[in-house]
Symmetry: C2
Subunit: 220 residues, 2 copies
């Protein structure tokens, strides 16, 4: 359905910003292909990643309704993004079912943020990393980019650390513990999970917060 609407699109290289903090854009970006993340940078240069974006996700409905973006969005792989103008958005939201789907997806985003907060605040380093891996497995499965027990991790250990509030060194050691317990196997960026249930149990992962539904509106 988006295809009928999308006029302009753009292609971005890994590492480029899709939206910069402080921007007020008059267009809304949608990821068609590739992976990205939302982030904030602190005065001392530290970075916190505050969300992952997979194909189909809206980047900045947000900055469109609010005054300006309070965070940036970066591409972590090559990305193909669509740009929707105000007219497109008005057209989409004029259909109640679509407007509802957009609202719904924002609520799911907020739900993910709450779970991340729990993750950072109250879980051990290994469980934090394991939890993120479980989330990625499930989210990538939904968009057809993961098998039942493996996926390609498009994140450096430093980016993982910026996600879960650890240093690169600690992420590395957490991954080693997970490998040692045979909860994951990894060769390069490929993550294989020998026993998905075991990893989920270790991470205290309950996919409920992702709120998948059968009748989910399809963004494609």
């Amino acid at each position: 359905m988006l295809h009928a609407v999308v006029g302009r699109g753009q292609s971005l290289k890994a590492g480029e910003d899709i939206v910069r903090e402080g921007d007020h854009t008059d267009v809304v970006h949608v990821i068609l292909e590739g992976h990205g993340f939302r982030y904030k940078t602190l005065p001392d240069g530290k970075r916190q990643i505050i969300g992952y974006l997979v194909p189909g996700d809206f980047c900045d409905l947000y900055g469109f309704l609010l005054d300006k973006m309070d965070h940036g969005i970066a591409a972590r792989t090559h990305c193909q993004v669509a740009e929707l103008t105000e007219d497109h958005i008005l057209m989409l939201t004029s259909r109640p079912s679509l407007a509802r789907a957009l609202w719904w997806s924002e609520l799911v985003n907020a739900s993910i943020l709450r779970e991340w907060l729990v993750n950072m605040g109250r879980r051990t380093p290994s469980a934090r990393v394991a939890h993120i891996l479980c989330e990625l497995l499930v989210r990538l499965q939904v968009v057809g980019q993961a098998s039942a027990d493996s996926f390609r991790l498009e994140l450096s250990q430093s980016e993982l650390g910026d996600t879960v509030g650890l240093t690169t060194v600690s992420v590395n050691r957490a991954l080693q513990r997970l490998r040692g317990a045979n909860l994951i196997q990894s060769s390069g960026r490929e993550i294989v999970i020998p026993d998905v249930a075991a990893l989920k149990a270790f991470a205290d992962f309950d996919p409920g917060y992702l709120h998948f539904r059968q009748d989910r509106e399809d963004h494609s």
Copy 2:
């Protein structure tokens, strides 16, 4: 405007649950008076607070649209809450300006969650606590419950810890550091901030993420 619509309401004592995790309610709760918080509990009993609620906030628009609540909501003071039925909600959302205001408030909630994530992930314990105090100051000012430089903190140190990912002991020591630096003065639950700008600078607090506007829709 709500007053015209609110049929039933209820009165809750401090510590009671307003909504329990897993509930699917057919009504939406709105806080009229008092303070509450959202929280999740982990298998090992640890708790993470994932949001504060002040008068005017909607508790569970969320569980209304999604299948079920993935977190609980507790009253931290005596609370007066309104219960809106599906009819009420449909009536509210049928007015574009109101529907837009509701959406807007959900986006602001998500923005606050992102800032909390930054807070937990990348700031020192003292700065975390200071940041929460700054946020409370500003949010309570907006609802007329804080002066220019002081407010009543309706949270125990343990609840503060569950908010920012610290233990009670660490919160206590963080507060002592803030007092020692004369960034705050506190007698019991009353917080006085001698130099608001100094505290904000220390906490790296930029109220932008709260997205206040002049033309904000009033929930009263």
